[in-house]
Amino acid sequence: MRARVFVTLKPSVFDPQGTTVAEALHTLGYATVKDVRQGKYFELEIDAGTQDEARRVATEAADKLLANPVIESYRIEITGA
């Protein structure tokens, strides 16, 4: 079972790296790119019997370690059977 965990800064949190990337894209001529938010992506291979079980483990991992709830939120996708 594979869990994909997407960690992103909360909307209220300023993202200096995303802003810098956006400025670089503007320099390259991508004037239509209005904003960039940079995040983190994790793939977890989980030995689990069901998707629910895999999601439970991935959620625990995200809560305890992968994301910092003060500044970040996360979204989980489970694939595999």
């Binding site: 949190v13 300023f14 200096p16 370690l65 992968l66 910092n68 003060v70």
Partner: protein, 237 residues
């Protein structure tokens, strides 16, 4: 008195802290490895600067789970003085011993320079020997020192007088230019609600001898010695 200096894999200011405590302050100091289960009977604990566990994931995010942190938490819960410097501050935030989190510097650069700090509160173990409003010239060296917390948390910190150091000009003015990293309200250092746990991004331990450019940081370490020997908090008001 005895200081424990916690060493994580990747700590690189552990020797600076040890040197300042032992050779400048003339107190006892002992290194404690992050896998140790005891703080060696220390009276005060320093979490030093550096890049614990390579700063992987987030600064301090892995260090928080080091075995010694259980002891640090126990020590802090019992009222023991704990000082987190730079990466040590980041570890305290990740561990939840202090509120908030660090973002990348506003400049997206590693900022390595002298800054001026204004002492906001003197009723903590690490500022007890300061004057309120005293200006300290100390260096910073970090890429992620842009302090952030939700507005209601910031309000609570201000109300409880937990902001104990702010970045200011040489004359003590809180300005955007004096803020090296974008921290909310120029916050450079905090204390816990019980005031015994203190974290700051600047490096007082690197500013303890005039031959190194400034001795203004020594008062932070001296404070805890005085604080513990008197067993009392200097009244701030």
């Amino acid at each position: 008195m005895k200081f424990a200096v916690v060493v994580f894999p990747g700590s690189n200011c552990d020797h600076d802290a040890y040197h300042a405590v032992k050779h400048v302050l003339g107190q006892e100091a002992e290194f404690v490895w992050h896998k140790d289960a005891s703080l060696a009977g220390a009276d005060a604990v320093i979490l030093p600067g550096g890049f614990a566990h390579g700063d992987y994931l987030r600064t301090g995010a892995i260090a928080r789970f080091s075995p010694i942190m259980r002891e640090v938490r126990r020590f802090a819960d019992a009222g023991g003085p704990v000082l987190g410097i730079c990466n040590g501050f980041q570890v305290l935030l990740e561990a939840g011993l202090l509120p908030g989190a660090m973002l990348r510097n506003r400049s997206v650069k590693f900022q390595c320079e002298y800054v001026f700090l204004r002492v906001e509160q003197t009723d903590t173990p690490f500022t007890a020997g300061c004057r309120r409003g005293q200006i300290l010239k100390v260096p910073i060296a970090h890429g992620e020192g842009n302090y952030y917390a939700e507005p209601d948390v910031i309000e609570r910190l201000e109300r409880n007088r937990q902001v104990i150091f702010r970045y200011t000009t040489a004359t003590g003015a809180v300005t955007a230019d004096a803020n090296p990293n974008g921290s909310v309200r120029n916050i450079a250092g905090l204390c816990s609600d019980r005031r015994n746990v203190v974290g700051l991004m600047p490096h007082p331990e690197r500013a303890c001898e005039l031959s190194l450019g400034s001795s203004d940081g020594l008062v932070v370490l001296e404070s805890v010695v005085t604080f513990l020997s008197q067993g009392a908090v200097a009244a701030a008001r």
